[in-house]
């Protein structure tokens, strides 16, 4: 028996990468949401219930992912708690021994919902929180929900459910990080954040205006001792999207990753297994020769390349994303010139 968080995660990640096991699956159960977060990548016009996958279809999808060896299953949205079958789906996934994570805005988590989650055996709940009451409510476009979310986080912790707070840090809540970190610490839970904002799935890039400026990114990367983890060319350029990571949207479209809206197929038309086992995407995706710009780029070592950002920005998987390039350039400044 071995226990070593970092190295074992790497071992499992590498095995699943080589064997094309969908280790991490994210299912967007719905695009409907009771919030209107400023940075959200889901366009408002997508928020329709009519085409959503049925419970039966999702259960059959979970069975297929199980048969392919997947273990981490994330239920996301929209707001996944708006689906009436959410508990049934969690219960089914737990019956198949998945590690089930719920991404939620927390506003629908009352005592009864938390008790049901506990009974279903949920493994982790990740709650989006962007700052103190004033900032958060303004950012998500809804008043009167803040105290309820904080109470829910505390109750989840009290019920011994693994819970964390997560944020996207923008130029509007940059100074809220300390508050959020301190809040998480006082409750005794994890806090995590990201600062990369992607254009919406329909190409609308208006939310990019919320992204931190160069000085703020510099200060954040430096403060958090931003590590460059990957050192070989292949792993710098090619990520695991579609290799051991997969995402399915509420309408059944299968994508290599939730941030990469490159449609691989639809589970209403084909079995998930057939879509997953079709190698045509992977064969192109892993060919290093396709990444012409990266191969000659002097920022490559500092870059955490995201094909999703490249694809949404330029409609080209292999192109350079201005967002990742900007971050790479700042990382280089920190580690080379300071």
């Amino acid at each position: 028996m071995q226990k070593n968080k970092k190295s074992l995660v790497d071992v499992l990640f590498n095995i699943s990468y080589c064997k094309k096991i969908p280790l991490y699956t994210l299912i967007e159960l719905t695009y409907r949401c009771n919030f209107l977060c400023k940075h959200c990548y889901i366009p408002e016009s997508y928020r329709k219930k009519i085409l959503e996958l049925t419970s039966e279809k999702i259960i059959s999808l979970i069975e297929e992912i199980y048969s392919l060896g997947g273990i981490y299953l994330i239920f996301s949205g929209g707001e996944p708690l708006l689906r009436k079958d959410i508990f049934e789906l969690i219960k089914f996934a737990k019956k198949l021994n998945f590690f089930v994570v719920l991404f939620t805005n927390g506003s629908l988590l009352d005592e009864s919902v938390i008790e049901k989650l506990k009974i279903c055996g949920i493994d982790k709940v990740e709650i989006s929180l962007y700052g103190n009451k004033k900032y958060h409510q303004e950012f998500v476009g809804k008043n009167g929900i803040y105290e309820k979310i904080i109470e829910a986080i505390k109750l989840l912790k009290k019920k011994d459910i693994n819970v964390c707070i997560k944020s996207v840090i923008t130029n509007q809540n940059f100074k809220q990080r300390e508050f959020l970190e301190s809040l998480a610490r006082s409750i005794g839970i994890e806090y995590k954040f990201d600062f990369v904002i992607a254009p919406k799935n329909n190409g609308d890039s208006s939310a990019i205006a919320l992204m931190l400026n160069d000085k703020e990114i510099y200060s954040l990367l430096k403060e958090y001792n931003y590590e460059k983890e990957k050192t070989n060319l292949l792993s710098k350029v090619i990520c695991s999207a579609g290799i051991n990571i997969v995402a399915i949207n509420p309408y059944g479209d299968v994508f290599p990753c939730i941030q990469l809206p490159y449609r691989l197929g639809n589970i209403k038309e084909k079995r998930f297994k057939d879509i997953w086992e079709n190698d045509s995407f992977r064969e192109k995706f892993i060919q290093i020769k396709n990444y012409k710009e990266c191969r000659k780029c002097d920022l490559l070592f500092w870059c955490n390349r995201c094909p999703g950002l490249s694809f949404v920005e330029n409609k080209n998987l292999y192109s350079c994303s201005s967002i990742t390039k900007k971050v790479a350039s700042i990382s280089k400044k920190i580690y080379v010139f300071s």
């Binding site: 226990k3 074992l8 499992l12 096991i21 997947g70 273990i71 737990k94 021994n97 590690f99 493994d123």
Partner: protein
């Protein structure tokens, strides 16, 4: 004493080894081939004597070796909170 795998435990068998994710802290555990064999027998509801008997038959080892392997493995995963005592026996 009979043990059982904790309800709601997240795990998957990949190439003869079982990976378990601890829901309390998201830590990952890996069980080797023999451990995975015992783990699967626990899942089937077998008791100590039945599992030791299966170990002897499958791995062609002396009963004392099987007993020792069983005891060490059970102690380890019990301490890690991955199994619990089965009150039903």
């Amino acid at each position: 004493m009979k043990y059982r795998i904790k309800p709601n435990l997240a795990y998957r068998k990949i190439f003869d080894e079982i990976y378990i994710v601890d829901s309390k802290n998201s830590y990952l555990h890996k069980i080797n081939e023999v451990g995975s064999f015992i783990f699967e027998k626990l899942k089937e509801g077998l008791n100590e004597d039945e599992i030791i008997d299966e170990l002897v038959k499958t791995y062609d080892v002396e009963i004392e070796v099987a007993k020792s392997d069983y005891k060490n493995f059970i102690e380890e995963i019990f301490l890690k909170g991955l199994i619990e005592k089965d009150a039903k026996k």
